[in-house]
Each structure stands twice: as structure tokens, then as C-alpha cells.
Amino acid sequence: MVNEKIKVENFNLYFNEKQVLKNINLSIFEKKVTAIIGPSGCGKSTLIRSFNRMNDFYNARVEGKIIFDRMNINDKNVDLSLLRTKIGMVFQKPNPFPFSIYENVAFGLRVKGIKDKSFLDQKVVKSLKDVWLYDEVKDRLFDSALSLSGGQQQRLCIARALANDPEVLLLDEPTSALDPKSTQKIEELLEVLKEQLTIIIVTHNIAQAGRVSDYTLFIYLGEIVEFGETKKMFTAPENKRTEEYITGIFG
């Protein structure tokens, strides 16, 4: 039994007059991993950034609906702070703030106005444990986050997002700047995290999509080519383009 967590209806997105996403219709299922794949420049990142309205900063104009929690997140009066705490995000390049490890994780909670020290401590520890980072950093929680390795930094960024108790986690090519070992660790982590929350991941690594996702969305030139269960798409794609992309003939 799968529940719909996010529903995208007739969604179009323009930067200036250029249409970047065309007529997107899509369901994201609860506590599943949905991978978005496609060649560079196809609109993958723009699509994932539509789920927490991060395209607002680049003056995007949108049409259509993205339903989450029974509301259209594209509505004018949506509380963006609230939306973004419920839908967390991890970026392509690890971007911990140049503060301490502790302050990075506590950041979202402090923004919400939480001052209770013991609650913050407890939450920071839990989030770090959730990303398997706690044991590695427990003796230096107040060191600069920039002293961590790339893979650790990225897990810290995931912990930072998790501290907000999001329902959905967006990952925009989270391993593209990491070495294979750190990549593997994050992929394993996603397996566990999906028991608690819904995950959407953009990746240009097709094999990664095959390994981590339950559903895969293939987009090309801003349009959905194919969407379905990963297993099915990787064994018997319906569309010829999908097959070519997955098998590496183009992309």
C-alpha cells in the first residue's frame, strides 16, 4: 500500500521567457525513494528545487499545482519557512556553514526560536547518529564543520536537514562531488532513512538511481519521458529514449 505524498499537476516553469519544465504530472510516494534522472540541462535540478520553492530566487514563473499536505505549495500565501522545514534539502556540493559541527545541526532549530539547551543537545546528537556521523565527531562537536572530509560534510548537511524533522528530503546530486566510498555510505544511509521519510534524489549516475530508488523519473528537455517503478524501468523501459539513456547510448 503506497500513499501519495506529493502530487504535481500540469506544472510548467519559466525562467524569464524560457520554459524549463513542461507540463509535469507526477506522484511522489510516501516513504519511498524517487530518483530523477536525465542528461545535464534537462531540468532535473529545477524540478527538485520546485518542491521547496528554491527557484523563487531566480525569478521563476510557475503554472500548475504541486500539492503537498493538501495545499498547493505554489500559492502566494504559503509559509515558505514552514514548507522548507517540512521539505528539507541537501545540495550537490557539501555546503556546511563555516560554524561548528554542533551549530550546523542546531541551525534550523535555532532559526525556529528554540533555545532549550538540553533539547538542542539531544536533537543534535540524534541527527548526527541518524547519519552515522556521531561516533566520528563526538569528541569535536565544536570544531569547525569545514574540518570534516567531503563525505562527512555531506552527511552533516543531511543531519542538518534532518534536525528539522522533515517529511520529505530532497537530494540534488548529493554524491557527485564525493569519492566512491563516501558515495556508498550515503546510498546505504538512504536505505535506512526512507523508513522515516520520503526521499527525492536527482542523480546523473544511472547505476545509483538503480541501486537506491523505488521509483524513477526520466526527464528530457524539460518533459517527463517516463515515470515508473525503478525495477520495471531498468529491465523493461517503455520508451525507446529511456532505454537508450539507461544503457548509455545517449546522455
Binding site: D79, S81, L82, G113
Partner: protein, 291 residues
């Protein structure tokens, strides 16, 4: 949650409001100088004021022709450009095209320090050291003259011209330079045929800003230009540029007299010149960015 919203709204409102202060200040300055300066133009008459060669503010009847001051300002500024432009552009070319990183890191602070020295210090050394030296060297009656003022002002504008030029040079894409080298161009060819043409607009704007700085500089010309109200007959004539006239006389002028307004009238001429220079040079910078 509500508190956060309220705080954000208030902060945003304050940020917008406070940002207007600079615009208001500029408006007030222009308004103030214009209305007071206008009185001078009206009472003295435009032609008498700008082209009059006689300036006797305390005689009866007084005359207020500032032509000699305008000419002095122009001469002093031109002289300073003759010194400051080659040195500024040359040192910028050295820093960006010839110096290695280490030399650059050592030399740049020198130029920054030059730009931070208060003008009164330049004026002081002009009076006690450079002026006497020039008097002896050229065997002239006074070392405080047009030449000395131009010389010191020229040094003062080096850092302005140098840093603006260097900024401009750094915008030249390395691919362009590489292309020139790949075609067999030498450093000289690359600089004269690629780098300088590419940055022409910025170089002009650096020049204009240097002129603006020179023409508006007060303490140096007040202290070392000599202060004579005559028309400059030679490069060693003591002169009195516009800024020096204001600075020298404002202290002993009664508020509300024609003389008082005349000093604002001089300021209006200066303001007009510098506004023109800044806006034109800004245009050049903008054009460069657009390309």
C-alpha cells in the same frame, strides 16, 4: 511564528527606509549648494562670475571673477594627470602582467598605503620638503606653485588609477591572452593589441575618476599651490585653484554676504564638474560590464 513574521516585516521595512538616506543626503547636498551658489550667479552675473579676471572680495565695490581659479584648477589637474596616468597605468600593468604572485602580494600594499595617506600629510611634506627642494633645484622665487601642486597631486592619484586599471586588466579573459601568445605574439604585442584595446573603456573611466579626484582635492592645493590669484603665466607660477579658494576664505567670511554665496557658487562649479566626471566614468564602467 507570528513573532518571527512581525520581526521580519519590521526589519525589511527598516532596511528599505534606511537605504533611502543616501539618496536623500545627495539630494540635500545638491539642493543646498545649488540654491546658495545660484545666488552668487545671480548677484555677480554668469559672465562676470565665470569669465571675470578680477577677484577682489573685500574692495568696495567688490569683484568676483573666478576665471583665474578655474584655469588654475584645470592646469593643476592636467599636470597631475601627466604624472599620475603613466605611473598608475604602468604600475598596474606591472602588477597584473609582469609581477609574480609573491611580488604582487608585497607591492600591492604599498600602493594601498599610498592611497590611505591623509592629504594634509602630502601638503605638509610639500611645504617643508618638496617645495624648498623645487625652489632650489629650478632656482625660482617660490617652490609652492603650479608645478609642485601638480607633482604631488599626480602622486596622490596614482593609486586610484592603478587600482581601477588593475581591476580592468583582470577582466581580460585569459583565453584571449593565450590566443595571442599561441599566435606568436610577445608580451608587448599581447598588451598593446589585446589587453589595452579590451580595457579601453575602463582606462578612460580610471582617467576620469583621477581627474575628478585631482580637481576636488583641497588640502594639497591649499598648502602647496602658492595661493596667488593671478592667471598662471608659467608652470612655476603660484596659483589658487577653486577648492583652495573656498578653503582659504570661508573661515573669514560673514554668513549671508555676497562673498559667502560666491564661495558656494565656486562649490557649484566644482560640483557640476565632478558630477559630470563621475557620471560619465560610470557610464564607461557600465558599458564594460555589459560587454
Amino acid at each position: 511564528m507570528k513573532k518571527r513574521k512581525l520581526r521580519d516585516g519590521l526589519a525589511t521595512f527598516l532596511i528599505y527606509t534606511i537605504s533611502l538616506i543616501s539618496i536623500i543626503i545627495l539630494g540635500l547636498i545638491v539642493y543646498d549648494i545649488f540654491t546658495k551658489g545660484y545666488i552668487a550667479f545671480k548677484e555677480v552675473g554668469f559672465t562676470n562670475f565665470i569669465f571675470g579676471r578680477k577677484y577682489y572680495p573685500t574692495m568696495d565695490p567688490p569683484s568676483f571673477g573666478i576665471f583665474n581659479f578655474i584655469v588654475s584648477s584645470i592646469f593643476v589637474t592636467l599636470g597631475s594627470i601627466l604624472i599620475g596616468l603613466p605611473l598608475g597605468v604602468g604600475s598596474a600593468l606591472f602588477l597584473s602582467e609582469y609581477a609574480n604572485l609573491k611580488t604582487k602580494e608585497i607591492l600591492k600594499p604599498f600602493i594601498e598605503i599610498l592611497s590611505s595617506i591623509p592629504s594634509v600629510i602630502f601638503g605638509f611634506i610639500g611645504i617643508v620638503f618638496i617645495g624648498p627642494f623645487i625652489r632650489k633645484f629650478f632656482n625660482i622665487p617660490t617652490g609652492l606653485n603650479l608645478f609642485t601642486a601638480s607633482f604631488i597631486l599626480g602622486i596622490v592619484i596614482i593609486p586610484i588609477i592603478s587600482s581601477l586599471t588593475e581591476d580592468a586588466l583582470s577582466t581580460v579573459p585569459s583565453t584571449l591572452k593565450e590566443a595571442s601568445y599561441a599566435l606568436g605574439g610577445t608580451k608587448y604585442d599581447t598588451i598593446t593589441r589585446v589587453v589595452i584595446p579590451y580595457t579601453k573603456g575602463a582606462l578612460i573611466s580610471a582617467l576620469l575618476l583621477g581627474i575628478g579626484r585631482s580637481i576636488g582635492e583641497t588640502m594639497i592645493v591649499l598648502m602647496v599651490a602658492g595661493g596667488a590669484m593671478n592667471f598662471p603665466n608659467s608652470i612655476f607660477s603660484p596659483v589658487r585653484p577653486l577648492t583652495a579658494t573656498i578653503a582659504a576664505e570661508m573661515g573669514e567670511t560673514a554668513v549671508g554676504t555676497t562673498h559667502f554665496y560666491v564661495l558656494y557658487g565656486i562649490a557649484l562649479v566644482l560640483l557640476f564638474l565632478t558630477l559630470f566626471l563621475t557620471l560619465v566614468s560610470n557610464k564607461f564602467i557600465k558599458n564594460l560590464k555589459r560587454e
